[in-house]
Symmetry: C2
Subunit: 108 residues, 2 copies
């Protein structure tokens, strides 16, 4: 794989609540967040998520999560690995991730 | 004004978190919720909200808020009055309304 741009990130402190809610109000992104919450930091690479979308759509969902301050990504070897920004996001929006993670999502 | 159907309501206990997040991830609905939070129960009638949308769109936003367990409406005389279901919604999604109400929404 050739050279590619590093992903852009937004810190949760810069994220309006509306952006955070919109990022989480989607079944695919909720699934990604839930899977990340169950994994160690940097454990999951982009191709390992069990979501019913193609590569382009998945890339879009990752971008939305980064822009909402929920996701940190870095390139590692030929892949890209992921971390849920749980502590930073919890500091900015206390309790929101807990609400989202506490229940199974219907149909997801 | 002639006979019309009473609005249908959904109790917050029946609402998936994704539905609650989607209802709040919209600038017009956030504005409605914020205005309701600043008013007494049943104080506000439907025509009194300061939102930049037409009657049909407003009616849709009210329906989304009712389906998310956020809004109770009842007919009163020739109008319809509104109540934020704050206690019930807080019991179902602790802290979520507090997060939403604590900051001004950019551009709303």
């Amino acid at each position: 794989m050739g050279h590619r741009a590093e992903p852009e990130h937004t810190h949760p402190d810069e994220v309006p609540v509306q952006t955070a809610l919109a990022a989480l109000a989607d079944p695919v992104r909720l699934r990604l967040v839930r899977e990340l919450a169950g994994a160690a930091d940097w454990e999951r690479s982009c191709g390992t998520f069990d979501v019913p979308v193609g590569k382009a759509a998945l890339s879009h969902h990752f971008a939305v999560l980064r822009a909402a301050g929920l996701l940190e990504q870095r390139d590692q070897g030929r892949g890209r690995v992921n971390r849920l920004r749980r502590a930073e996001f919890d500091a900015r929006f206390p309790g929101l991730l807990t609400l989202v993670l506490r229940e199974e999502i219907a149909g997801a």
